[in-house]
Amino acid sequence: MIEAKALTKIFEIKKGDDIPAVVDLNLSIAQGEVFGFLGPNGAGKTTTVRMLTSLIGPTSGQAWVNGFEVGKEDQEIRRNVGVLTEHPGLYERLSAFKNLMIYANLHDVESAEKQVEKYLHMLGLWSRRDDPAGSFSKGMRQKLAIARALLHEPQALFLDEPTSGLDPEAARLVRSFIEELGDQGRTIFLCTHNLNEADRLCNRIGIFKSRLIAVDTPANLRQEIYGRKVVFHLRALDPAWKKLIGTIEGVRDVQLVDQKIVVGMEDPEGLNPKIIRLLVENGADLLFVGELRHSLEDIYLQTLEEEGVIKDEL
């Protein structure tokens, strides 16, 4: 449904002064999936959305949306995707109704007025349809902009930070609407820098800062985030120990880093003695044992400091 292969965008400011906004992005998002694209300011989220919606061309690499290739079948892509751009970009002097009619006509939507009416009702804006969009609150504008992206019933929807700048109540409304859209089986590419939002709405999350750093389901990421890790510092390492430790019940994952073994588990107090015994029985020189613990925020930020997260820590 949405696929990217080595997708790269480098902005050239002056000769020799390049900004690598998106580097070597590989992605595969299935039909009906709600994918969270999580990254801090300047990560390249908007740039990625612009490439995937055929607004700007990649410097290199390829991408497909609904089976159409970016750069080759741009018109088809524009016909088949809906975009909520970073700024709602409404025509403030025109009524909500008129704003939507313009887009319905540009997409050549059949029975445009009915479709506009449907979405105005759906988003609770019908009673304000004749008011200029400029008189709307931020939350209403955002809803209007989302309606605008849906008029032609696109299968793939790109939402660039749909709740940023909204108060909690408005954000909640927008989120529950996105949830509904996800339930309707649309493919949704959701850019956000809000962890909890991604957690709640998405089937999978990609953590991104110019490069894709981690991709997984929220449950797995949370495991990774909330799970505890114990580090066993050894004089020398035997790779066979990794497998041995892995057989102990309750051990989630085992990694070897330099002369250390990092073990993910829920219950270090219960398991540590077992692991230590096992290691000693197998001839390990155990120097000391320590725990790695991270808050949600920590992990996220560290993940962003590129892959050597654990390495840097040890």
Binding site: F11, R50, T53, S54, L55, I56, G57, Q75, R78, R79, V81, V83, T85, E86, H87, P88, G89, L90, Y91, E92, R93, L94, K98, I102, Y103, N105, L106, H107, D108, A145, R148, A149
Partner: protein
């Protein structure tokens, strides 16, 4: 070329633009002034010349006599000479109105970021450009034609003589209003789009783009100074030059009006 998209853009532009007082003011008052001024002038010069019992052809600048037909009296030729100065003012209408509309439209879309969602629809940038150009130039062309029509219609009521009317409704003016006007409108819209992509205040865009009036003012002063006489030949050469300018300006406009360009290079 998708005409529905173009129509949608024109419709949208007009819905927005006619809500803008600045634009509306320019569209109504400028043509009004340019129509009324020459009428007032013709009325009073007609009266005066009547009182004086006729002015000789000797009073008309010698260079200008060629523009008058042989059956005109000196007074009529004098009127033709004076009214010709206003023709050039008239020709400013299709520059100033499109510049005003396009400047407010493009800079407005830029500051509210409304171009990006628009560009995410299947409309081609060329259709978008055509839509915007037509939306900005059609009102100017139509207003120009209407005010010229009113101007000509008012002439007999003010006692302007037949041969002067024939001159005004003759080839020089008709070429200017019907052909040169639209050509200038096209060029000025594209120039404004270029300027608007670089500045963030519609008034600045407007002011810079109206520098485009300089060639017309040049003609005006050249005529006042007696260096040239605006006749059919001059008008045809002006039109020829304008076609070249149009080609250049449309090229400039289309090259600046590309999706990637708009989103990443417009300041």
């Amino acid at each position: 070329m998708n005409f529905k998209s173009i129509r949608t853009i024109i419709d949208k532009e007009w819905a927005e633009v006619f809500k803008n007082r600045m634009v509306l003011f320019t569209m109504i008052f400028m043509p009004l002034i340019f129509t009324v001024l020459p009428l007032v002038m013709l009325y009073f010069t007609g009266q005066e010349m009547g009182d004086m019992g006729g002015v000789g052809t000797a009073d008309v600048p010698a260079e200008f006599l060629s523009a008058c037909s042989s059956d005109m009296t000196g007074a009529e030729c004098m009127q033709v000479y004076l009214v010709n100065q206003f023709l050039l003012l008239f020709m400013m209408v299709p520059v100033i109105i499109p510049v005003t509309i396009a400047a407010y439209s493009i800079v407005g879309e830029k500051t509210t970021h409304s171009l990006e969602p628009l560009l995410a629809t299947p409309i081609s940038t060329f259709e978008l450009l055509v839509g915007k150009s037509l939306a900005a130039s059609l009102p100017a062309i139509i207003v120009g034609w209407i005010s010229f029509g009113l101007f000509v219609a008012a002439l007999p009521l003010l006692g302007v003589t037949k041969s002067v009317i024939n001159y005004i409704a003759g080839p020089t003016w008709l070429l200017a209003i019907i052909i040169a006007g639209p050509l200038m409108a096209i060029a000025s819209v594209n120039l404004t789009i270029f300027v608007s992509s670089r500045v963030n205040d519609p008034r600045t865009a407007e002011q810079i783009s109206t520098l485009f009036l300089l060639p017309i003012l040049g003609l005006l002063f050249a005529q006042l100074a007696g260096v040239i006489v605006i006749n059919v030949m001059v008008m045809l050469s002006f039109i020829g030059g304008m076609i070249l300018v149009d080609i250049g300006m449309v090229y400039l406009g289309t090259s600046i009006f590309q999706r990637e360009n708009i989103l990443t290079r417009w300041k």
